[in-house]
Symmetry: C2
Subunit: 397 residues, 2 copies
């Protein structure tokens, strides 16, 4: 458990630089939060851009009273602060220490350092909640198809006692939370603003339900606005804290595709649900599958579990068509059956010739076909069983 001064220093540092800033993270890693704050306050940050940015924010005044106020507000809201020194800090976030994005992936959050602290509303210890967790992300402007799939996947994961993690947006995010809640599961919304800011406002009731049985989590102190770049900064937490990220629907270049790219950069399972190629909302999904060899197409919960589950324990069964009686037939029996006339009786000799197999084999296979109900003996030969009494089938001719 971290002491009060350490916690306060981490909050104050969050007020001085956006989460994810590498230079600040390095300072904390080297000197500890309290010394790091002192250095920041006196302008001793090695990185020029960060030093200038911190100086600009210091223009608004000493961050420590604001940090005290943020902690007091959080306490009043029933929220708590969790810091890396706490036992409940989710270990998956450590992966952000070393991750680098390729130039193609860069947007405003090109710096991907781990969070300095997390504000949390809800009962679960973070580390437990994130232990068996899967992120489900996608477009705000999702289609009915996407929302259906997100709900269905989240429901299935929750049923199997996996936590669902997403943002707080309309569309795929909300659908995923609803699916997990419907299954009585644990769901976690990672926000891009203060814990008390229900953004979007229309999701207020959803956030309250999530906080009751699951968790609301954010890097930003109470009062922070949901500025656009923060959604992307937030995405690295979703990718890092979970065992894998599922992308359900995404337009080209959308924020959700960026979350998956972060998962890929960290070597976490990047799972993508395809959709109709005629849907703009699946273009981003298909592009990820085309561009990244490590991205994996998933079509159902079993596929997801196969990737995020413990190796060998959760293998998805291969897709199977319905088992047909014909599946019991070998090549020769199949050919023999297919070669029989639709109507009338043939002798075993004639059947063998039609099928191009020898008579001994033909007799053996006819016996098999009779046993399985495909043919019947009649008038000294064999005839097809009438369709009504034949084993069901579904292919031509």
């Amino acid at each position: 458990m971290a002491d009060a001064e350490t916690r306060l220093a981490r909050v104050a540092l969050t007020l001085l630089a956006e989460p994810g800033t590498r230079a600040v993270h390095r300072l904390v890693a080297r000197h500890g939060p309290r010394t790091a704050l002192a250095l920041a306050l006196s302008g001793e940050i090695p990185d020029d851009a960060t030093r200038d940015a911190v100086r600009a924010r210091l223009g608004a005044g000493d961050p420590r009273p604001a940090a005290e106020a943020a902690l007091a507000t959080a306490a009043r809201l029933g929220a708590r602060l969790v810091v890396p020194e706490d036992d409940e800090w989710p270990t998956g976030l450590d992966a952000l220490e070393h991750v680098e994005l390729s130039v193609a992936d860069r947007r405003v959050d090109r710096e991907l350092a781990p969070p300095l602290c997390l504000w949390v509303r809800g009962e679960w210890p973070l580390v437990d909640a994130f232990d068996r967790s899967v992120a489900i992300v996608g477009s705000r402007a999702a289609t009915a198809y996407g929302e259906h799939v997100a709900t269905d996947l989240a429901y299935g994961l929750a049923e199997r006692e996996w936590s669902v993690v997403s943002g707080g947006a309309f569309g795929i995010d909300a659908a995923a939370h609803r699916g997990a809640l419907a299954a009585g599961g644990l769901t976690i919304a990672v926000l891009a603003c203060g814990i008390e800011r229900a953004y979007p406002v229309a999701n207020t009731a959803l956030f309250d339900r999530i906080a009751e049985t699951g968790l609301l989590v954010t890097e930003w102190p109470p009062g922070a606005d949901p500025l656009r770049p923060r959604f992307l900064i937030r995405n690295r937490v979703i990718a890092a804290a979970t065992r894998g990220t599922v992308l359900v629907e995404a337009a080209a270049r959308s924020g959700a595709t960026q979350t998956v790219r972060r998962a890929i950069a960290m070597g976490r399972p990047a799972l993508v649900v395809p959709g109709p190629v005629t849907s703009a909302m699946s273009v981003g999904c298909h592009e990820i599958l085309r561009q990244h060899e490590s991205a994996r197409l998933v079509a159902n919960v079993a596929h997801v579990l196969e990737e995020v589950g413990r190796i060998g324990a959760d293998l998805a069964p291969p897709a199977q068509g319905p088992q047909r009686p014909r599946d019991q037939l070998d090549d020769q029996a199949t050919f023999l059956l297919e070669s029989l006339p639709r109507r009338g009786v043939v002798t075993p000799d004639a059947a063998a010739i039609r099928a191009g197999i020898d008579i001994r084999t033909a007799l053996r296979k006819l016996t098999l076909l009779e046993t399985l109900g495909f043919v019947m003996r009649r008038d000294g030969g064999y005839a097809l069983t009438p369709p009504s009494r034949r084993p069901a089938e579904d292919e031509p001719p």
Copy 2:
């Protein structure tokens, strides 16, 4: 140009063993068609199973008169016989010489030898028609989505002077042919029965249209029935004769997935169109993409051309969202813009503090934002341009 006896021998051998039989192909490769036929007639085939099968068919009589009759019938129908000795023999079929399927892929056509001959209706020389060709295959029980995509892909390929190759079934096959025909392109139906057998009968008019401007092709002589195993035997020709195979919709374990597996086994591009994971008709497509690393997801004609086209000549452009004015902004300008209050005026100093960037940078970025029309000077500071006059955007907040 092969002599008449060679041609007759190849037809007679087709009557004695199903196309694709390895032992017969080897006999022809070693001794030539005429000697191979003589050996088959006298029971001298090294492979036991094939020898027995040939003997059984010989029970129906000498195949040479039947072969003569088949050639006469074909001539009457306006069809011709093409043999490997002819200049127009499609070279892609040679790939079948060495291809082996894994046990998992086996069905009744475990033998994949090249055809002994092909019956053809239509004007185009085979080798030209198949030179720039793409197979489009899929389910008979296709959905409206699948038929739309198949038609669209075939139309786009035909427009770019690629031939389309498919079977003759309802669903994806017919949709592909219709798309190519609509673009005035060359389309080829590879049948699993005699050239004069319109199977399914409801596609008779379609086959006639295909024969007028494209080609009908089959390994089986006139009169041959569309027996079920023949569809799978036929599929190897579709995969081998083309530059790549596109799978549009397929149920698990369907025949169309087998065609793609044959393309994969031959190292040909295996291209798969995904679909909704809620559709049984896309399960086979998704399984191929999950099981085979070499299978490639394609969503449009550009993607297909990228794989089958000459290297470098037909690269598909990466998917792009609409170009937005915001794309011209760097990280700091974006953050600055996002940090401005929705209403009212701020001084450059206040803007810099809100954004956490230094004042010199803030002034530079504000000038940029003003030039691009995002902000305007007012009352000694800066304000957001009213939404109606702001560059269009599409993301929160």
